[in-house]
């Protein structure tokens, strides 16, 4: 991601005393920090490998059942790829130094990866793959009140949009670049909250208490509004230590990149409505009690 001006990068580099920006491979200065970044990266690698293996095991265990759509498999591994691109490698390194690069990593991690992972229907796959008894416990777990609360669209949207507001309008943004632990927690929150929101709005997995179309529509519109207002606000008020040109590029990326994913979410929301309101029986004349 080209950084229009190195100013922001230099400012942020000046703020963060040491350790960050040097990948685990380069870690010479600040031994504890270098170790922290290395552990965070190792945790990401392990989690990604576990998720990749888990889905493959699920496919293998349920191979006797009806065929599983290939597009879901592709979605899962593309989603993991997006998480990996956001957290490991060159983009992740650039994201610790520049705001625009940070924003592209966050679009991948908080919007695109959750969308792909949710569309892969991992809960449905687990229910097919697990033995009956284990599948029942999983269903019971998903019916817990706590799960029901955090998967409500309003709660999920507040967690997701609220988390972004806190991140960019408080000292959390500079802090996350100074501490590997805070960095990991922020990223975990962005991915999980994004996934919860996507699942609550358009997820194909079974949801016994799915909110009504009206509630989900209102939440999605409110979320898009909050996201775009924050992007415009960031354009004028970049976080501490971010230079002007870098802040403007990052804010515009957040606005237009967010829009692209938001339009996909709107289309998925309405295609769910379209499928459930399908006229039954003979089409053309009155389709029965609609209205």
């Amino acid at each position: 991601m080209a950084d229009p001006a190195g100013a922001g990068r230099r400012m942020i580099a000046a703020r963060m005393d040491h350790g960050h920006g040097t990948g685990p491979a380069a870690g010479g200065c600040g031994g504890a920090d270098a170790l922290g970044w290395f552990l965070a990266d190792a945790a990401v690698v392990l989690l990604l490998a576990g998720a990749a293996l888990g889905y493959a095991l699920g496919l293998w265990a349920s191979r006797g059942r009806s065929p599983w759509p290939v597009r879901r498999v592709l979605c899962w591994y593309a989603g993991l790829g997006c998480v990996g691109a956001a957290l490991l490698g060159p983009l992740a390194r650039a994201a610790r130094e520049g705001f625009a690069a940070h924003m592209s990593a966050h679009l991948l991690l908080g919007m695109i990866a959750p969308l792909l992972l949710v569309l892969a229907a991992p809960v449905t796959l687990a229910l097919r793959a697990l033995p009956v008894r284990a599948a029942r416990s999983l269903t019971r777990l998903l019916r817990r009140r706590a799960v029901r609360v955090i998967t409500h669209p309003v709660v999920a949207a507040v967690l997701s949009a609220g988390g972004l507001w806190v991140l960019y309008t408080t000292a959390l943004y500079p802090l996350m670049h100074a501490s590997p632990l805070v960095h990991a927690l922020v990223h975990a929150h962005v991915l999980l909250a994004g996934s919860l929101l996507t699942a609550a709005l358009v997820g194909p997995d079974p949801d016994p208490h799915r909110a009504s179309m009206v509630v989900r529509s209102a939440v999605l519109v409110a979320f898009i509004a909050a996201h775009s207002v924050l992007a415009k606000w960031l354009y004028a008020h970049p976080p501490d230590g971010v230079g002007r040109a870098d802040g403007e590029a990052g804010a515009q990326l957040m606005y237009y990149g967010g829009d692209a994913v938001d339009v996909v979410l709107i289309v998925l929301l309405f295609s769910g409505w379209y499928a459930t309101t399908r006229p039954r029986g003979r089409v053309r004349s009155g389709s029965g009690a609609g209205a």
């Binding site: 515009q252 379209y274 004349s285």
Partner: protein, 169 residues
């Protein structure tokens, strides 16, 4: 209404046809109007005024925070109703024939209605943003509001000419 419509018991009498047609027609008008408002809010502004003419800017520092929030809501609603209108159109189509001229009339009325609302409420009452900056606004406002009113009139005229024949009884 729905119980009366289904009361025919499978045999689609003329009354049922009529009612289904009315519903399809109403839904087509709703679809066109939403789509028209939506493209006026999301696409015309983006492609014509931001990217084409470059009269509008991503953010201008004089924008008050209330206006910024209102702008975000309009932005979100714009995309939402654009997609909503298109799905309603698909729904009309899978249930019967689409009255295309009627739909087009509703789109034109929708574009006009949103531009009228934008020109009067957003530009003049709330002062969220202007059509163009550092120029005398009066001719722009007149052209904007006048063309919006004209579109509403044209759209309404098409809707009037394509109105379904009144139900028999």
């Amino acid at each position: 209404m729905s119980s009366a419509a289904t009361g025919a018991g499978g045999e689609a009498g003329p009354g049922v046809e009529q009612r289904a047609g009315d519903r399809g027609s109403r839904r087509a008008v709703a679809s066109g109007f939403l789509f028209g408002c939506g493209i006026a809010a999301s696409m015309i502004d983006l492609f014509v005024f931001h990217l084409g003419l470059q009269w509008h800017h991503f953010y201008d520092l004089s924008t008050p925070e209330v206006a910024l929030a209102a702008d975000g809501v309009f932005h979100a609603l714009g995309w939402f109703i654009t997609v909503w209108g298109l799905f309603l159109l698909a729904d009309v189509r899978r249930r019967g024939d689409v009255p295309w001229r009627r739909w087009t009339g509703a789109v034109i009325a929708g574009v006009g209605a949103f531009q009228l609302f934008d020109g009067v409420v957003n530009h003049k009452v709330l002062g969220i943003h202007q059509i163009r900056y550092h120029v005398d606004l009066l001719p722009y406002d007149l052209a904007w509001i006048g063309s919006a009113a004209l579109l509403v009139l044209i759209g309404t005229a098409i809707l009037w000419r394509t109105r379904p024949a009144p139900a028999a009884g």
